[in-house]
C-alpha cells in the first residue's frame, strides 16, 4: 500500500474512505489510456471522483458532445486537451463556412480553470488570433500547440505564441487555412521567438503560405539545441535547406521545403553531404514541394535509415523514384503521388518489405482522366508488402480480383480506403459491382477498423460489411448502395461503429430509423444528398432526446424562415412528399443543443 506522507502515523487514523481515495488516486495516476480511464470512472462514485481528479489528458472527439463548463467542472487538473470540431467532410467543402467548431467558448472557460495547461491539440476548429493571444498569456507553462486543419487565425496569432510561450516545445501547424492578410499585416512570427536558447523540439509549418525571414529561421534553429522535428514551407530553397540541416544535425524529422529553386551541380554535392551527415538520425523525410528531381540523389545517404517518406507533393516518375526507393529497406510509411504509376508501386513492393502504411494521392483529382495507377499496382503492393496495416489508394477504376487479392495477402489491414474516382464505376474487367472485393476485405481482414468504399456498389456490399465488419469503427460511403437496406445492414450489423459519413447515396428515413438503438454510442452520423426528409429526421430526434439532430442547408435560406407549422404546410404542398434534407449531422450531447448554431443550421 502506498500512503500519502501525511497519513503515515497510526495515531490519527484516516477514515477508510479517504485512504481508499488516496490509494485510488495514486494508482490511477498510472493509467494513461483514456479508454481504461473511462471504464474505471464507471465503477462507482468514488472511482468516478478519483479518476476525475487524476485525469490529466482530456480527449473530446466532438466539441459539441459536451460543454466546456461541464468539462472543467469534472476534470480539475488537466494538462492536455484534444479537441475536434467540424466533421471530416468539411475538408471537401461539404460543410458551409461558419458552421461552427469555435475554440472561443473553450478558451474562455479553460483559461481560468486550467492555469497549468501544457498542451493543446486542435483539429478542424476555428481558432482566432485572439484565442492564440489568450493561450499565450493565460498558460504560464504552455508547451505544445498542435493545430491541424484549423482556420481563423493569422501570422499575428502565431507570433504571440512564439513570443510569449517561454517553455514552448512543440509548434506544429499542419494543413491550416490562414486568414488572408495584406502584406502590411503579415507578421514574421519566426523572429518573435525569444533570443535565448529555446526548448523547441518540433517546429512544423510546411503548409504555411507566408514566407518567413530565413535569417530569423536559421538563427532560431541554431539556438534550439533540442530541435528534432523541423518542417519548413515551400519558400525555403534548397540552399537554405542545407544551411538549416548543418545547423541542426540532430534532426529526426525533416520537411524539406521546396527542394528546388535553381539547379546547380555544386549545390547537389553540398546537399548530399548534408544528408550524409544527418543520415544516422533522420528517420522521417517530407516536403519536396517544388521539387527539381535532379536534386533527388542528394537524399541517397539518408534512405537506408528512413522509416517514413512523404513524396505526396513531388511530381516524380517511376524512373526518378526507383533509385531512391531501392535504398529504403526500412520504410514503414510511404506517401506518394500517382505520377509514379504502377511501375513505381512495383518498385516499392520489391524493396519495402516492412511497409505498414501507403498513401497514393492523385496528381489530377478528376474523374475522366487516364489513371496512372490501377489494379496492377494494388496487387503488386499486396504481394510485396505483407505487413501492410493502412492503405489509401486513389485510382480511376479497379477490379474485384485485385481487392480480393489484397485482402488475402494483407490480412493485418486495419485501414482500407479505396477511392475509385470514377463514380459508380464497376469492375473494369467483369463489369460487375465492386461488392465482392469489399466483402473480401471485411471478411479476411479481421482487425479492420476503418473502411472507405467507392465504385459501383449494391446493397450486397453493405450486407457484407454488416455481417463481417465487427470491428469497424469508421465507415465512409459515397455514391453507393441501392436502398435503405444498405444502411440498415450497417447500422444493425456493426456494433463498434463510431463514425459514419455518407454522401450521395439512396438511403432514406427507414434506414435512418434502423440506427436508433446505436446512435448514442456513436461519435456522429453524417448524411448528405441522400433520401432523407425532415419528418424522418424529426422522428429520430423525437425518439432520442439526448441526440442533437442538425439539418444543414446549403444556401442558408431554406429552414430559417420556417417554424414547425410552416414547414409542415410546405411539405404537404409539394406532391405530398416531405421536404428533402440536404445534410444531416447527428451526435449525442450531454448538454443539449449548441448555442452557437448559425442560421443555416436547424436543430430538430
Amino acid at each position: 500500500m502506498v500512503f500519502d506522507g501525511e497519513r503515515s502515523t497510526m495515531s490519527s487514523a484516516p477514515l477508510p474512505d479517504q485512504v481508499l481515495d488516496n490509494v485510488l488516486e495514486t494508482v490511477l495516476h498510472f493509467i494513461t489510456s483514456r479508454h481504461d480511464r473511462n471504464a474505471a470512472s464507471l465503477v462507482c462514485k468514488s472511482w468516478f471522483r478519483a479518476e476525475a481528479q487524476t485525469r490529466s489528458k482530456v480527449y473530446i472527439g466532438n466539441c459539441y458532445a459536451v460543454s466546456p463548463n461541464r468539462t472543467v467542472q469534472r476534470f480539475r487538473r488537466v494538462r492536455t486537451v484534444f479537441l475536434k470540431g467540424r466533421p471530416r467532410f468539411a475538408d471537401f467543402g461539404l460543410v458551409p463556412v461558419g458552421w461552427g467548431g469555435n475554440l472561443s467558448p473553450w478558451i474562455a472557460v479553460m483559461s481560468p480553470a486550467y492555469p497549468w495547461l501544457e498542451k493543446l491539440c486542435l483539429k478542424r476548429m476555428t481558432v482566432t488570433n485572439e484565442n492564440l493571444y489568450t493561450i499565450a498569456t493565460s498558460f504560464a507553462h504552455f508547451k505544445e500547440l498542435l493545430l491541424n486543419c484549423c482556420d481563423g487565425f493569422g501570422t499575428a496569432g502565431i507570433a504571440a505564441i512564439a513570443e510569449k510561450c517561454r517553455h514552448l516545445r512543440v509548434l506544429d501547424l499542419v494543413e491550416n487555412t490562414l486568414e488572408v492578410e495584406d502584406d502590411d499585416d503579415v507578421v514574421d512570427w519566426v523572429s518573435f521567438f525569444p533570443l535565448e536558447n529555446t526548448f523547441l523540439e518540433s517546429l512544423v509549418f510546411d503548409c504555411l503560405e507566408f514566407e518567413v525571414s530565413f535569417a530569423s529561421l536559421l538563427a532560431l534553429v541554431t539556438r534550439s539545441p533540442e530541435l528534432k522535428r523541423l518542417k519548413v514551407n515551400h519558400h525555403v530553397s534548397i540552399i537554405q535547406l542545407r544551411q538549416l540541416m548543418l545547423s541542426a544535425p540532430q534532426l529526426t524529422h525533416l520537411g524539406t521545403g521546396s527542394f528546388g529553386e535553381g539547379w546547380d551541380q555544386e549545390h547537389l554535392g553540398d546537399l548530399t553531404s548534408a544528408f550524409a551527415s544527418s543520415s544516422k538520425t533522420l528517420v522521417h523525410l517530407s516536403g519536396f514541394r517544388c521539387i527539381i528531381p535532379e536534386y533527388l540523389p542528394a537524399i541517397y545517404p539518408a534512405c537506408a535509415n528512413l522509416t517514413c517518406l512523404n513524396f505526396s507533393f513531388a511530381d516524380i516518375t517511376a524512373d526518378q523514384l526507383k533509385p531512391i526507393i531501392r535504398h529504403c529497406d526500412n520504410l514503414q510509411s510511404f506517401w506518394v503521388l500517382d505520377s509514379i504509376c504502377d511501375e513505381g508501386l512495383i518498385a516499392v513492393a520489391a524493396t519495402c518489405k516492412d511497409l505498414r502504411e501507403l498513401r497514393v494521392f492523385p496528381i489530377e483529382p478528376s474523374e475522366d482522366t487516364e489513371s496512372p495507377v490501377t489494379d496492377m499496382g494494388l496487387v503488386a503492393i499486396s504481394e510485396g508488402c505483407r505487413k501492410l496495416h493502412s492503405i489509401l489508394y486513389f485510382c480511376q477504376s479497379m477490379t474485384n480480383a485485385a481487392v480480393v487479392t489484397m485482402s488475402q495477402n494483407c490480412p493485418d489491414l486495419v485501414v482500407f480506403r479505396l477511392c475509385i474516382m470514377g463514380r459508380h464505376r464497376p469492375d473494369h474487367i467483369t463489369g460487375e459491382a465492386m461488392d465482392e472485393g469489399f466483402g473480401a476485405i471485411v471478411s479476411n481482414c479481421k482487425k479492420l477498423t476503418r473502411l472507405a468504399v467507392s465504385g459501383l456498389l449494391t446493397d450486397k456490399a453493405f450486407a457484407y460489411i454488416g455481417e463481417f465488419g465487427k470491428s469497424v469503427r469508421t465507415l465512409s460511403v459515397a455514391f453507393a448502395g441501392n436502398s435503405d437496406l444498405g444502411l440498415r445492414y450497417v447500422l444493425e450489423g456493426c456494433p463498434k461503429l463510431q463514425k459514419l459519413e455518407i454522401r450521395d447515396s439512396p438511403f432514406g428515413n427507414s434506414g435512418l430509423l434502423s440506427g436508433i438503438h446505436h446512435y448514442y454510442n456513436m461519435r456522429f452520423l453524417w448524411m448528405s444528398s441522400c433520401n432523407l426528409s425532415i419528418n424522418g429526421c424529426r422522428d429520430v430526434a423525437g425518439k432520442l432526446p439526448h441526440l442533437v439532430v442538425e439539418v444543414i442547408s446549403d444556401s442558408g435560406t431554406m429552414q430559417q424562415h420556417h417554424d414547425d407549422d410552416d414547414g409542415e404546410e410546405e411539405e404537404e404542398d409539394s406532391n405530398g412528399n416531405n421536404e428533402t434534407v440536404g445534410k444531416l449531422y447527428l451526435y449525442r450531447s450531454l448538454d443539449g443543443s449548441r448555442p452557437d448554431a448559425p442560421p443555416f443550421v436547424l436543430i430538430l
Partner: protein
Amino acid sequence: MAGVVTERAGLGFEETELRLGLPGGGDTLKNCGKRGFEETIDLKLKLNSSVETVAVLPEKDRVKPAADVVVVTADPGKPSAPKAQVVGWPPVRSFRKNVMSVQSTKTGTKEAVSGTGSGGEKSSFPPTVGAAFVKVSMDGAPYLRKVDLKMYKSYQELSTALEKMFSSFTIGNCGSQGINFMNESKLMDLLNGSEYVPTYEDKDGDWMLVGDVPWKMFVESCKRMRIMKGSEAIGLAPRAMEKCKNRS
C-alpha cells in the same frame, strides 16, 4: 524582347547576367537542360501570349507543361464532355489541390521571373516584365514589406523609401544626409553601432551589405533584403571592405 536583351548587353553586364543553370554556361548546360537567360525571356513572353508552349524546361516534359496551368486549355487527352463537377469529389483536400497547382505555376514561372532579380514573388501573380519585387524584413519589426526595386534609381531613393516604411526605426546614421554606402569610415561607424544596417541576399545565396555594388547590379542580383542590427552585420563587413578597397 530583343530590346530588353540589348539594353542589358549595352550596360556591360553580360558576366553578371542572371542565367539559369551553370555560371558561364549558355547552351552548354548538362542533363538538367535549363535554358539560358535570353531563351527564358522569350519563353516568358510566349507564355503570356500563346496557348500551347511546348518549349518549357525539358525535365518537366513528362509532366504537364507549365503553360497548361497559366492558360487553361483543353488537353487533347481528355474526353470532350467531362462529367458535371460535384462538390468535394474526388475527396482530395483543397490545400493538396492548391499546392499542386501552385507548384506547377511556381516552377513554370519562377524561372521566367528570376531574370528580374525577384525571389519573393508570390506564384499566384503573373510575371511582370518590369518589376523587381523583393521582400524586406527588419529585425524586430512585426511585418515584412515588399518593394519593387525598379521603382528607384539609386540607393538614396531606396533608403528614403525604406525609412518611410519602417519609420519607427532608424536606418543607419542617415538622418538627413541619407546613407552613403560607399564611404568606408561611415560603414565602420554604422557597423560598430547598434543602428540598423540594410543587408541583402544575392542570387548566390550570400548575404551582403547593401551598397557594395553599383545600383543596377544590386537590382539585378538582390533576392531579398533584411535590415539587421549593426552589430549583427559585422560578419558581412569584410567582403564589403574588400570590395571598397579594390575599388579605391
